[in-house]
C-alpha cells in the first residue's frame, strides 16, 4: 500500500490517465484518505438529498460541499450573486457521518466546489433512485481531488461516481434574519399555491406586505409598451399565515425562478416556510427546517430607485457604479486563482456560520489569493476605508459583501442597475458608518 501510495502521488500530474487505469484502486485509496465520509439511507437519498440538489441546481451552476462538524452543507450561488442557497444536513441525517480523524473545528476540513452538471444527473430521476438505490455513500478524497458518490443498489449493483472538485473557500452568506422587520411563516402549500398562478417563465415577482394583506404580483419591466403582457395579482389575508409579523410596509421584487426550488423542497417534506423580509433592496430569506436539516435561500431584491433594469451579468454593470468609488470600477473577479472565492462577513456571525473560515472580501478581490482570516473590525475597516475598492465588488457580492443600508439608500443604490441588495455591514458598535 505504501508504494502504491507514492506511485499514486507521483503520478498526480498526469491527471486523467491514472484515474482510468487505476480507478478501482484509486477509489479504495481515496476511501482511506477520505476527508469526509458519510452514508445516507435510501429514503433520505431520494427525499431530502435529491430534492436539495434539485433546488440548488435551480440557483447556480456550481455546488459547494462543506463538510463540517455540525453537518454537511450543500450550497450554491448564481453567477450574478443575486441568489444563494444552502442546505445543511445535520449528522443525525446520515446513517454514518465522519470527518477525517483529527478534524476539529477550525482545522482543514476540505471544502469542495463541484460543477452542478456533474452532480445533478446522478439525482435527476428521483423515482428511479427510490426504486433501486438502497444506500448512498459520499466521500471526499483530497488526494485525488474527487468526491466519490456511490450508490449501493439492489441486486448487489454498486454505482460509483468520481467527481472532480476544486478546492475552494467556503461559500458563505451570513444573513441576520433577526434584523428583518417582517417575518412570515406559512405552510409550503400556501406559498406553492400562490406561485402556481404565475407562469414558469415569469422571472420576477413583487411581494408587497402591509398589515392588511400580502400581495404578490408579476413584475413588469417598464418600457415594455408594445408588448402586451398579462398581469397577475393575488392577495392573501394575514390570517392565512401561521405567523405574521410586520414592522415595515414594503414592496420587494425578487426572482421567482430561484425560489421555486426550495418551495418544491418544502412541499415535498411538508415543512412550513419562513420568510424574512425587509425594505426593498435588502435580501429576502426563505428558510425551511426540521430536525435533521436546515435549508435557506437568500434572494436579492430590487432596490427602490431601481425598478427598471434587471439582473444582468454583474461584470457588465460595474462601469455604471459611480458614487461609491473613487477609482475606476474594476470588474468583479468571479474567480481568483484556482477557484478561491472570498466573501465578507457582515456584522454578526450567526450560528450556522461557525466552523467555516470567513474571508474578507475587498482585499481578496483586489489581490488574488489574499485570504485573511481576520476579525470583524478589521474587515469592516477594510471595506469602508477602501474607497478605491471597486464598488462593483460591493454591488456584486451583494449578499456576501456588506454595505450599510444607510449608504445604500443615500446614493449607491440609486446608481445601481443590478438586482442588488445589501446586508448590514457594521454594527453601530463596531464601526461608525462612513460614507465611501
Amino acid at each position: 500500500l505504501g508504494c502504491l501510495r507514492s506511485t499514486f502521488c507521483g503520478s498526480r500530474a498526469s491527471g486523467v490517465l491514472y484515474v482510468f487505469t487505476l480507478s478501482e484502486i484509486v477509489s479504495q485509496l481515496a476511501y482511506l484518505f477520505a476527508n469526509m465520509n458519510c452514508v445516507i439511507e435510501r429514503n433520505s437519498v431520494k427525499g431530502p438529498l435529491g430534492k436539495a440538489i434539485h433546488a440548488l441546481s435551480r440557483i447556480g451552476n456550481e455546488l459547494w460541499l462543506d463538510p463540517m462538524v455540525k453537518g454537511l452543507a450543500l450550497r450554491s450561488v448564481n453567477s450574478a450573486h443575486s441568489a444563494y442557497g444552502c442546505f445543511l444536513f445535520s449528522p443525525m441525517f446520515f446513517k454514518h457521518y465522519s470527518l477525517e480523524s483529527g478534524s476539529k473545528q477550525g482545522s482543514k476540513a476540505i471544502k469542495c466546489k463541484l460543477v452542478m452538471k456533474s452532480v445533478l444527473p446522478l439525482f435527476r430521476c428521483l423515482t428511479s433512485i427510490e426504486r433501486s438505490v438502497e444506500r448512498c455513500h459520499m466521500s471526499v478524497s483530497t488526494a485525488t481531488d474527487r468526491v466519490i458518490i456511490q450508490f449501493f443498489c439492489r441486486h448487489g449493483i454498486i454505482k460509483t461516481h468520481n467527481i472532480h472538485f476544486q478546492e475552494s473557500e467556503a461559500l458563505q452568506a451570513v444573513f441576520d434574519s433577526h434584523l428583518c422587520a417582517n417575518v412570515l411563516k406559512a405552510p409550503a402549500r400556501l406559498l406553492a399555491d400562490m406561485v402556481v398562478h404565475f407562469p414558469l417563465f415569469q422571472e420576477e415577482i413583487t411581494l408587497s406586505i402591509t398589515p392588511m394583506k400580502v400581495t404578490l404580483r408579476n413584475y413588469q419591466q417598464g418600457g415594455k409598451g408594445p408588448m402586451k403582457t398579462m398581469y397577475t395579482e393575488m392577495s392573501l389575508h394575514p390570517n392565512e399565515f401561521d405567523y405574521f409579523q410586520i414592522g415595515l410596509d414594503s414592496d420587494i421584487t425578487f426572482c421567482l425562478k430561484e425560489l421555486r426550488g426550495i418551495l418544491s423542497f418544502a412541499e415535498s417534506r411538508s415543512l412550513p416556510v419562513s420568510v424574512y423580509l425587509d425594505a426593498a433592496g435588502k435580501p429576502v430569506c426563505f428558510s425551511v427546517e426540521d430536525m435533521v436539516l436546515e435549508a435557506t435561500v437568500l434572494l436579492a431584491t430590487v432596490t427602490d430607485s431601481d425598478s427598471r433594469d434587471h439582473s444582468q451579468p454583474t461584470e457588465s454593470l460595474t462601469p455604471k457604479i459611480s458614487r461609491c468609488i473613487s477609482s475606476p470600477a474594476q470588474p468583479v473577479a468571479m474567480s481568483q486563482g484556482p477557484g478561491s472565492r472570498s466573501y465578507t462577513v457582515p456584522d454578526e456571525l450567526i450560528a450556522s456560520s461557525q466552523g467555516s473560515p470567513v474571508i474578507s472580501c475587498p482585499g481578496a478581490m483586489r489581490l488574488p489569493q489574499t485570504r485573511e482570516q481576520t476579525c470583524l473590525s478589521v474587515d469592516s475597516q477594510e471595506c469602508t476605508s477602501s474607497t478605491s475598492s471597486p464598488a462593483s465588488t460591493k454591488v456584486c457580492s451583494l449578499l456576501f459583501n456588506a454595505l450599510s443600508s444607510q449608504q445604500d439608500q443615500d446614493g449607491c443604490a440609486a446608481q445601481l442597475p443590478v438586482l442588488a441588495c445589501y446586508s448590514d455591514e457594521e454594527n453601530a458598535d463596531d464601526n461608525p458608518r462612513s460614507p465611501s
Binding site: D193, H197, P199, L200, K228, T229, M230, Y231, T232, E233, M234, S235, L236, H237, N239, E240
Partner: protein, 305 residues
C-alpha cells in the same frame, strides 16, 4: 363597449371548467401543460390567436381556420345563461350588440386554469395598460377571508369590418354523418397510429361504419368501428328535403387528414360528451361536433392537399 359577467354557482363553475379544459386542449400551448405534452411543439406554433365573441345570449370561443392555425378551425359556443349568474354587455354600438376580441391563447388559458380552482369568478372588460379582459377569481381558503387572484389578459378589439370571418359557420353540405366511437378508444388508436404515419384517412358510411386507416411503405393499419349509428338526416339529400337520391349506405366518404390535428382534438376530450358526431365531406373536410351539457364544440379539420 362594456362587458361584465359573474359566475358564483359552483355547478356553473364546474361547467365552465369543463369548457376551459376543452379550450386549453384545443389551443394546446404551454409546454408545461400536462395535457399537451408531445404534441405541443408542432401544434403550439399553429395556434396564434383566439377570438372571443360576446353577444347578449352567447359566448363564442373561436379559433379561426386560417393558415396560421394550420387550417384547423374550432368553434365553441356557450349559452351564457347556463353559466353566468350575472351577465351584462353593451356592444360596440347600440344597434350592434356584439363584441369581438382577439386574445392570445397562452395567457388566456393560464387565467382559465386559475378559474378551475375558484369558488367564484368575475370577468370584465377593462382598460389597464391596454384593453384587457380581467379575470378575478376568488379561491377557497380555510380562513374566513377569500383569496383573490386577478389576471389581466390583454386583448385586441377586432374591428367590425373583420367580423364576417367569425360569424356562425353553417354546417357544411356533408356526404356522410356518423356518430363517433368512444373518444378514449379513438384517442388510443390515433396515438399509436401517429407513431407510424403523419397522415390518416377517416372514412365512414351511412351504415354506421367508420374506419381509421394509415398506410406506409412497410405497413398499413386499419381500425374498423361498426354499428356506430348515423344521426337522422345523415346525408345531404335528406337535408335538402328534396327528392332523395339515396346515397348507397355502403359507400364510404373519406378524408385524409394530418394525424396530429386529429390527435390534438382528441387530447382535450377528457369528459365524455353527451353527443359526438362527425360529418364528412368527401376529400374536403372533417367536421366534428361535440355536445357537452352546456357547451357545443365544432372542430373542422381540412383534408390534406
Amino acid at each position: 363597449m362594456k362587458f361584465r359577467g359573474k359566475i358564483t354557482d359552483i355547478a356553473c363553475l364546474n361547467h365552465f371548467t369543463t369548457f376551459s379544459r376543452i379550450l386549453k386542449s384545443a389551443v394546446c400551448l404551454n409546454e408545461a401543460d400536462p395535457l399537451c405534452s408531445g404534441v405541443v411543439t408542432t401544434i403550439s406554433k399553429l395556434t396564434k390567436t383566439c377570438v372571443l365573441r360576446l353577444t347578449p345570449d352567447h359566448l363564442f370561443f373561436i379559433l379561426p381556420g386560417k393558415v396560421t392555425n394550420g387550417g384547423v378551425g374550432m368553434w365553441c359556443q356557450l349559452l351564457q345563461a347556463n353559466f353566468f349568474q350575472e351577465y351584462q354587455m353593451e356592444g360596440v354600438t347600440s344597434e350592434v350588440q356584439e363584441i369581438c376580441l382577439e386574445v392570445s391563447p397562452e395567457p388566456w388559458s393560464r387565467a382559465l386554469k386559475t378559474v378551475q380552482s375558484a369558488k367564484s369568478v368575475k370577468l370584465k372588460l377593462t382598460r389597464k395598460h391596454c384593453a384587457c379582459l380581467t379575470v378575478a377569481a376568488e379561491l377557497p381558503t380555510l380562513s374566513s377571508v377569500g383569496r383573490v387572484v386577478t389576471h389581466d389578459v390583454p386583448v385586441d378589439v377586432i374591428p367590425r369590418r373583420l367580423w364576417q370571418e367569425f360569424q356562425e359557420v353553417g354546417v357544411p353540405d356533408f356526404d356522410v354523418s356518423v356518430y363517433l366511437p368512444p373518444l378514449k378508444t379513438m384517442k388510443s388508436v390515433v396515438d399509436r397510429m401517429k407513431n407510424l404515419s403523419n397522415f390518416l384517412v377517416m372514412e365512414a358510411n351511412l351504415n354506421g361504419d367508420m374506419n381509421l386507416k394509415i398506410q406506409t411503405d412497410l405497413v398499413s393499419v386499419t381500425t374498423h368501428f361498426k354499428d356506430l349509428g348515423n344521426p337522422a338526416g345523415g346525408d345531404v339529400s335528406s337535408q335538402d328535403g328534396g327528392p332523395s337520391q339515396s346515397r348507397d349506405p355502403e359507400v364510404m366518404a373519406e378524408v385524409t387528414v394530418d394525424i396530429r390535428k386529429l390527435q390534438q382534438f382528441l387530447m382535450g376530450q377528457q369528459v365524455n360528451p353527451s353527443k359526438a358526431l362527425c360529418n364528412i365531406v368527401h376529400q374536403n373536410v372533417v367536421h366534428l361536433v361535440l355536445l357537452h351539457e352546456d357547451v357545443s364544440l365544432q372542430y373542422f379539420i381540412p383534408a390534406v392537399a
